[in-house]
Chain length 187, copies 2
């Protein structure tokens, strides 16, 4: 008897998180209101506030749910394929299969360059962690002779981020071709 | 007698454009209202609407005024310095001297990946043009033996864009060092 409403609550919460992720990715955090989120899931504003007392808390939950799993995923696939190059291409393919997620991170990281943005600290930390993890990955690839000494973690992240902006603006943009070309330059 | 009010109008218009550029760069186009712009320049909303009848027209004027002069500037400096590498480093320095402008373009291009954003077409065209121009620059640098055959215009734009996001988030990030490292990979 108590299980059903609980399950409904979980499902509702998840629905709100998905709608908010979608809205933030398209309009940005500042361009989307709690009323917009409520309208998207057919709830009243009070209904949404019951699950997430503020827009900031909603944003935090949206970001937490999308913890970056790229690096652990990458390490495992690299182990399996034995090729840094192939694994990087697969990582790009994985992102291209989820343009909504890419758009969410491109939009929010740009907005969050403003130090007063509620996701500013999140993105500063996220990039620090990504740089550390990808720097270690690059060092390992260098030790294995798979990439040259000029490649770097921050550079790799920048290339992917930059190519993704061009691809989001124009889906016919050859992201895979350009990434492949970059991988040739560091091979 | 007629000159003075005209000059006041020009100055006022310019003041509004600068305030709007600043607001859009920090809050995004969607996160900043015409009332915010008005408050910034001590005008009423009606006062701002006198110069710019809609937020879309204001955005258009903000973007038009900041036409990308990177490539003509680049070509001229390259002629003067005789070094592709040095000129790229100077271009990055030029951007770093104007973080507000960089932030404006990072924020708006991210927002504008949404096809319904009023600046969507502007950014699609802007990136097309930049890719064409930088591709020609890279070809010239290849012909002169200054960069290798794997370098490409879209790749160069992506590296700069991506490094700039990391730098805006964390001003201590070594953008120049990372760019220099990338230039080594394509030398």
């Amino acid at each position: 008897m108590t299980k059903k409403p609980y399950a409904v609550g979980i499902a509702r919460r998840q629905q709100i998180l998905e709608a908010a992720g979608e809205l933030f990715s398209v309009r940005g955090y500042r361009g989307a209101s709690m009323r917009d989120v409520a309208a998207q899931v057919n709830l009243t504003l009070a209904g949404v506030l019951h699950y997430f007392p503020s827009k900031e808390e909603l944003l935090e939950s949206v970001l937490q749910q999308r913890t970056d799993t790229s690096v652990p995923w990458f390490e495992q696939r690299w182990e399996e394929t034995g090729s840094f190059r192939q694994t990087m291409m697969e990582l790009a393919g994985r992102n291209m299969a989820d343009p909504g997620m890419v758009r969410l991170f491109v939009t929010l990281s740009a907005e969050a360059t403003d130090p007063t943005h509620p996701a500013h600290d999140f993105f500063v930390k996220r990039y620090r962690t990504s740089r550390e993890l990808f720097s270690r990955t690059i060092e390992r690839a260098q030790a294995r002779g798979e990439v040259n000494s000029r490649a770097s973690g921050p550079q790799l992240i920048a290339v992917l981020d930059g190519l993704q902006v061009q691809w989001l603006l124009e889906p016919s943009f050859d992201l895979a071709g350009e990434l492949s070309r970059y991988l040739d330059t560091i091979a």
